[in-house]
Amino acid sequence: MNIEKIKKYRLLLQDNGIILSISGVLSQDLLSIFVESLKAKLELLLPINPSAHNIFNIFIEQAQNILNYSKTQDTNISSLINSSNIIFVGYDNDEKLFYISSSNLIANDDMPKVKERIEYINSLDSEELKSYYKLARKSGVKMHEKGAGLGFIEMAKKSSKKLEYSFESYDESYSFFILKVYC
Protein backbone atom coordinates (compact mmCIF):
# COMPACT_ATOMS: atom_id res chain seq x y z
CA MET A 1 0.00 0.00 0.00
CA ASN A 2 1.47 3.39 -0.93
CA ILE A 3 1.16 6.56 1.19
CA GLU A 4 -1.82 7.88 -0.77
CA LYS A 5 -3.68 4.61 -0.33
CA ILE A 6 -2.94 4.53 3.39
CA LYS A 7 -4.38 8.06 3.69
CA LYS A 8 -7.51 6.95 1.85
CA TYR A 9 -7.76 3.82 3.97
CA ARG A 10 -7.49 5.87 7.12
CA LEU A 11 -10.19 8.28 5.94
CA LEU A 12 -12.43 5.38 5.01
CA LEU A 13 -12.09 3.94 8.52
CA GLN A 14 -12.71 7.36 10.08
CA ASP A 15 -15.77 8.11 7.92
CA ASN A 16 -17.30 4.80 9.00
CA GLY A 17 -16.64 5.31 12.70
CA ILE A 18 -14.34 2.30 12.94
CA ILE A 19 -12.83 1.83 16.40
CA LEU A 20 -11.37 -1.60 15.74
CA SER A 21 -10.33 -3.07 12.42
CA ILE A 22 -8.91 -6.56 12.07
CA SER A 23 -7.86 -8.02 8.79
CA GLY A 24 -5.83 -11.05 7.84
CA VAL A 25 -4.82 -13.78 10.23
CA LEU A 26 -7.04 -14.24 13.26
CA SER A 27 -6.61 -16.67 16.14
CA GLN A 28 -8.29 -17.35 19.46
CA ASP A 29 -5.29 -15.81 21.28
CA LEU A 30 -5.55 -12.62 19.25
CA LEU A 31 -9.30 -12.55 19.76
CA SER A 32 -8.94 -12.62 23.55
CA ILE A 33 -6.39 -9.79 23.41
CA PHE A 34 -8.75 -7.69 21.29
CA VAL A 35 -11.59 -8.42 23.71
CA GLU A 36 -9.46 -7.31 26.67
CA SER A 37 -8.45 -4.03 25.06
CA LEU A 38 -11.96 -3.28 23.79
CA LYS A 39 -13.27 -4.02 27.26
CA ALA A 40 -10.96 -1.46 28.84
CA LYS A 41 -12.07 1.25 26.38
CA LEU A 42 -15.78 0.50 26.13
CA GLU A 43 -16.48 -0.05 29.80
CA LEU A 44 -15.14 3.44 30.43
CA LEU A 45 -17.12 4.90 27.56
CA LEU A 46 -20.38 3.05 28.27
CA PRO A 47 -20.31 2.41 32.03
CA ILE A 48 -24.00 1.57 32.50
CA ASN A 49 -25.01 1.00 28.93
CA PRO A 50 -26.11 -2.56 28.17
CA SER A 51 -24.79 -2.18 24.64
CA ALA A 52 -21.20 -2.68 25.85
CA HIS A 53 -22.07 -6.30 26.66
CA ASN A 54 -23.97 -6.73 23.43
CA ILE A 55 -20.98 -5.42 21.48
CA PHE A 56 -18.79 -8.10 23.07
CA ASN A 57 -21.31 -10.87 22.53
CA ILE A 58 -21.75 -10.01 18.86
CA PHE A 59 -18.02 -9.43 18.31
CA ILE A 60 -17.10 -12.78 19.86
CA GLU A 61 -19.78 -14.67 17.89
CA GLN A 62 -18.69 -13.18 14.57
CA ALA A 63 -15.00 -13.77 15.23
CA GLN A 64 -15.56 -17.36 16.35
CA ASN A 65 -17.86 -18.06 13.43
CA ILE A 66 -14.96 -17.13 11.18
CA LEU A 67 -12.38 -19.04 13.26
CA ASN A 68 -14.47 -22.21 13.32
CA TYR A 69 -15.53 -22.03 9.71
CA SER A 70 -12.08 -21.31 8.27
CA LYS A 71 -10.63 -24.44 9.85
CA THR A 72 -12.99 -26.72 8.01
CA GLN A 73 -11.64 -25.67 4.61
CA ASP A 74 -9.17 -27.54 2.40
CA THR A 75 -5.60 -26.91 3.40
CA ASN A 76 -4.50 -25.72 -0.02
CA ILE A 77 -6.81 -22.73 0.10
CA SER A 78 -6.90 -22.19 3.86
CA SER A 79 -4.00 -19.74 3.92
CA LEU A 80 -5.85 -17.62 1.41
CA ILE A 81 -9.04 -17.81 3.46
CA ASN A 82 -7.26 -16.92 6.68
CA SER A 83 -5.68 -13.87 5.16
CA SER A 84 -8.94 -12.57 3.77
CA ASN A 85 -10.93 -12.31 7.00
CA ILE A 86 -12.08 -8.85 8.04
CA ILE A 87 -13.81 -7.73 11.23
CA PHE A 88 -14.83 -4.15 12.09
CA VAL A 89 -16.26 -2.65 15.23
CA GLY A 90 -17.65 0.79 14.47
CA TYR A 91 -20.04 3.51 15.50
CA ASP A 92 -22.72 4.60 13.06
CA ASN A 93 -23.25 8.28 13.67
CA ASP A 94 -26.53 8.44 11.73
CA GLU A 95 -28.11 5.51 13.53
CA LYS A 96 -26.39 6.37 16.82
CA LEU A 97 -25.59 2.69 17.19
CA PHE A 98 -22.49 0.53 17.37
CA TYR A 99 -22.11 -2.17 14.77
CA ILE A 100 -19.91 -5.19 14.13
CA SER A 101 -19.31 -6.33 10.60
CA SER A 102 -17.17 -9.04 9.10
CA SER A 103 -16.27 -10.71 5.86
CA ASN A 104 -14.85 -14.13 5.09
CA LEU A 105 -14.76 -16.59 2.24
CA ILE A 106 -17.31 -19.35 2.26
CA ALA A 107 -17.85 -22.26 -0.07
CA ASN A 108 -20.57 -21.58 -2.63
CA ASP A 109 -22.11 -24.92 -1.62
CA ASP A 110 -22.73 -23.54 1.88
CA MET A 111 -24.33 -20.30 0.65
CA PRO A 112 -27.95 -21.52 0.40
CA LYS A 113 -28.04 -22.87 3.96
CA VAL A 114 -26.46 -19.72 5.44
CA LYS A 115 -28.91 -17.54 3.49
CA GLU A 116 -31.87 -19.68 4.52
CA ARG A 117 -30.83 -19.58 8.15
CA ILE A 118 -30.39 -15.79 8.29
CA GLU A 119 -33.65 -15.19 6.40
CA TYR A 120 -35.48 -17.42 8.85
CA ILE A 121 -33.95 -15.65 11.87
CA ASN A 122 -34.77 -12.25 10.34
CA SER A 123 -38.41 -13.29 9.93
CA LEU A 124 -38.83 -13.77 13.71
CA ASP A 125 -39.88 -11.11 16.21
CA SER A 126 -38.11 -10.85 19.56
CA GLU A 127 -40.40 -13.29 21.41
CA GLU A 128 -40.14 -15.85 18.60
CA LEU A 129 -36.36 -15.41 18.56
CA LYS A 130 -36.19 -16.15 22.26
CA SER A 131 -38.24 -19.34 21.86
CA TYR A 132 -36.21 -20.42 18.84
CA TYR A 133 -32.97 -19.82 20.74
CA LYS A 134 -34.18 -21.93 23.64
CA LEU A 135 -35.33 -24.69 21.34
CA ALA A 136 -32.05 -24.75 19.40
CA ARG A 137 -30.02 -24.72 22.63
CA LYS A 138 -32.06 -27.56 24.06
CA SER A 139 -32.14 -29.79 21.00
CA GLY A 140 -28.66 -29.00 19.68
CA VAL A 141 -30.02 -29.59 16.14
CA LYS A 142 -27.61 -27.12 14.55
CA MET A 143 -24.64 -28.28 16.61
CA HIS A 144 -21.33 -29.00 14.96
CA GLU A 145 -17.92 -30.08 16.18
CA LYS A 146 -16.99 -26.79 17.83
CA GLY A 147 -20.13 -24.77 18.12
CA ALA A 148 -23.67 -24.99 19.30
CA GLY A 149 -24.96 -23.50 16.02
CA LEU A 150 -26.46 -20.64 18.01
CA GLY A 151 -24.26 -17.80 16.74
CA PHE A 152 -26.68 -16.11 14.32
CA ILE A 153 -29.62 -16.40 16.74
CA GLU A 154 -27.49 -15.01 19.55
CA MET A 155 -26.46 -12.02 17.40
CA ALA A 156 -30.05 -11.35 16.31
CA LYS A 157 -31.21 -11.48 19.93
CA LYS A 158 -28.63 -8.92 20.95
CA SER A 159 -29.25 -6.64 17.98
CA SER A 160 -31.78 -3.82 17.76
CA LYS A 161 -32.09 -4.43 14.00
CA LYS A 162 -32.24 -7.30 11.51
CA LEU A 163 -29.03 -9.03 10.43
CA GLU A 164 -27.68 -7.46 7.23
CA TYR A 165 -25.76 -9.72 4.88
CA SER A 166 -24.51 -10.14 1.36
CA PHE A 167 -22.60 -12.65 -0.77
CA GLU A 168 -20.08 -11.39 -3.29
CA SER A 169 -18.83 -13.91 -5.83
CA TYR A 170 -15.09 -14.70 -5.58
CA ASP A 171 -14.59 -17.60 -7.97
CA GLU A 172 -16.47 -20.71 -9.08
CA SER A 173 -16.07 -22.35 -5.65
CA TYR A 174 -16.05 -19.48 -3.15
CA SER A 175 -17.84 -16.25 -2.28
CA PHE A 176 -17.26 -13.49 0.24
CA PHE A 177 -19.85 -13.58 2.98
CA ILE A 178 -20.42 -10.13 4.47
CA LEU A 179 -22.34 -9.66 7.71
CA LYS A 180 -23.30 -6.45 9.52
CA VAL A 181 -24.99 -6.45 12.92
CA TYR A 182 -26.05 -3.34 14.83
CA CYS A 183 -26.04 -3.35 18.64
Binding site: Q28, L31, S32, I33, V35, E36, K39, P47, I48, P50, H53, N54, F56, N57, I60, E61, Q64, L67, N68, K130, Y133, K134, R137, K138, G140, M143, K146, G147, A148, L150, G151, I153, E154, K158
Partner: protein, 127 residues
Protein backbone atom coordinates in the same frame (compact mmCIF):
# COMPACT_ATOMS: atom_id res chain seq x y z
CA UNK B 1 -12.43 -38.05 44.79
CA UNK B 2 -10.43 -34.84 44.46
CA UNK B 3 -11.69 -31.30 44.17
CA UNK B 4 -11.46 -29.70 40.73
CA UNK B 5 -9.48 -26.51 40.33
CA UNK B 6 -8.86 -24.76 37.02
CA UNK B 7 -7.33 -21.30 36.92
CA UNK B 8 -9.00 -18.55 34.91
CA UNK B 9 -7.56 -17.22 31.67
CA UNK B 10 -8.78 -14.27 29.55
CA UNK B 11 -11.22 -16.49 27.73
CA UNK B 12 -11.95 -19.27 30.24
CA UNK B 13 -13.41 -19.05 33.74
CA UNK B 14 -12.07 -20.18 37.10
CA UNK B 15 -13.48 -23.56 38.07
CA UNK B 16 -13.48 -24.37 41.76
CA UNK B 17 -15.45 -27.49 42.63
CA UNK B 18 -15.05 -28.55 46.24
CA UNK B 19 -15.69 -32.21 46.86
CA UNK B 20 -16.08 -31.92 50.66
CA UNK B 21 -18.58 -29.07 50.77
CA UNK B 22 -20.40 -29.58 47.50
CA UNK B 23 -19.80 -25.90 46.72
CA UNK B 24 -19.08 -25.46 43.04
CA UNK B 25 -17.99 -22.21 41.41
CA UNK B 26 -17.69 -21.09 37.77
CA UNK B 27 -16.41 -17.53 37.61
CA UNK B 28 -15.06 -15.16 34.97
CA UNK B 29 -15.34 -14.91 31.20
CA UNK B 30 -16.08 -17.93 29.05
CA UNK B 31 -15.51 -17.76 25.31
CA UNK B 32 -13.06 -20.58 24.59
CA UNK B 33 -12.52 -21.56 20.98
CA UNK B 34 -14.01 -24.93 21.81
CA UNK B 35 -16.36 -24.74 24.79
CA UNK B 36 -17.22 -28.44 24.63
CA UNK B 37 -13.56 -29.38 25.00
CA UNK B 38 -13.02 -26.91 27.85
CA UNK B 39 -16.06 -28.07 29.83
CA UNK B 40 -15.54 -31.79 29.18
CA UNK B 41 -13.55 -32.40 32.41
CA UNK B 42 -16.03 -30.19 34.28
CA UNK B 43 -18.99 -32.29 33.15
CA UNK B 44 -17.11 -35.50 33.87
CA UNK B 45 -16.30 -34.31 37.41
CA UNK B 46 -19.95 -33.43 38.09
CA UNK B 47 -21.14 -36.81 36.86
CA UNK B 48 -18.66 -38.64 39.10
CA UNK B 49 -19.50 -36.36 42.02
CA UNK B 50 -23.20 -37.08 41.66
CA UNK B 51 -22.54 -40.82 41.57
CA UNK B 52 -20.74 -40.62 44.96
CA UNK B 53 -22.32 -37.65 46.71
CA UNK B 54 -26.02 -37.89 47.41
CA UNK B 55 -26.22 -34.88 49.73
CA UNK B 56 -26.24 -31.43 48.23
CA UNK B 57 -24.89 -29.34 45.41
CA UNK B 58 -24.54 -25.59 45.58
CA UNK B 59 -23.43 -24.22 42.21
CA UNK B 60 -22.46 -20.56 41.88
CA UNK B 61 -22.19 -19.30 38.31
CA UNK B 62 -20.69 -15.85 38.00
CA UNK B 63 -19.98 -15.19 34.35
CA UNK B 64 -19.48 -11.84 32.66
CA UNK B 65 -18.88 -12.44 28.97
CA UNK B 66 -19.61 -15.80 27.43
CA UNK B 67 -20.20 -17.19 23.96
CA UNK B 68 -23.11 -19.19 22.61
CA UNK B 69 -21.35 -22.56 22.83
CA UNK B 70 -20.75 -21.86 26.54
CA UNK B 71 -24.47 -21.16 26.84
CA UNK B 72 -25.20 -24.55 25.26
CA UNK B 73 -22.75 -26.29 27.60
CA UNK B 74 -24.25 -24.61 30.67
CA UNK B 75 -27.67 -25.74 29.51
CA UNK B 76 -26.42 -29.32 29.38
CA UNK B 77 -24.83 -28.96 32.82
CA UNK B 78 -28.07 -27.64 34.34
CA UNK B 79 -29.86 -30.51 32.62
CA UNK B 80 -27.74 -33.02 34.53
CA UNK B 81 -28.52 -31.21 37.79
CA UNK B 82 -32.20 -31.07 36.88
CA UNK B 83 -32.22 -34.86 36.48
CA UNK B 84 -30.74 -35.52 39.92
CA UNK B 85 -33.11 -33.03 41.49
CA UNK B 86 -35.80 -35.52 40.66
CA UNK B 87 -34.02 -37.97 42.99
CA UNK B 88 -34.51 -35.52 45.87
CA UNK B 89 -30.93 -34.36 46.01
CA UNK B 90 -30.73 -30.78 47.20
CA UNK B 91 -29.56 -28.67 44.26
CA UNK B 92 -29.17 -24.91 44.38
CA UNK B 93 -27.94 -22.81 41.48
CA UNK B 94 -27.04 -19.20 42.14
CA UNK B 95 -26.74 -17.19 38.96
CA UNK B 96 -24.67 -14.20 40.06
CA UNK B 97 -24.77 -11.25 37.68
CA UNK B 98 -23.32 -7.77 37.62
CA UNK B 99 -26.17 -5.27 37.94
CA UNK B 100 -24.78 -3.30 35.01
CA UNK B 101 -24.76 -6.39 32.82
CA UNK B 102 -28.32 -6.72 31.56
CA UNK B 103 -27.25 -9.40 29.13
CA UNK B 104 -26.08 -11.73 31.91
CA UNK B 105 -29.28 -11.06 33.86
CA UNK B 106 -31.37 -11.94 30.81
CA UNK B 107 -29.45 -15.19 30.34
CA UNK B 108 -30.08 -16.08 33.97
CA UNK B 109 -33.77 -15.39 33.57
CA UNK B 110 -34.01 -17.60 30.51
CA UNK B 111 -32.23 -20.48 32.23
CA UNK B 112 -34.54 -20.10 35.22
CA UNK B 113 -37.58 -20.39 32.93
CA UNK B 114 -36.17 -23.57 31.41
CA UNK B 115 -35.57 -25.25 34.77
CA UNK B 116 -38.60 -24.72 36.93
CA UNK B 117 -37.77 -27.76 39.06
CA UNK B 118 -34.43 -26.36 40.16
CA UNK B 119 -33.87 -23.79 42.85
CA UNK B 120 -32.43 -21.19 40.52
CA UNK B 121 -31.64 -17.90 42.21
CA UNK B 122 -30.83 -14.71 40.32
CA UNK B 123 -28.39 -12.90 42.57
CA UNK B 124 -27.19 -9.36 41.82
CA UNK B 125 -23.51 -8.89 42.55
CA UNK B 126 -23.24 -5.77 44.64
CA UNK B 127 -19.46 -5.43 44.52
Amino acid sequence: MESLLIKATNSTPEINFNFESGNLLIKGDSYPENAFAFYKPVMKWIEEFIAINQKRINLNVQLIYFNSSTSKTLYDLFDILNEIKKDDIDVIINWIYDEKNYSAFEFGEEFKEDYELLTFNLVPNLN
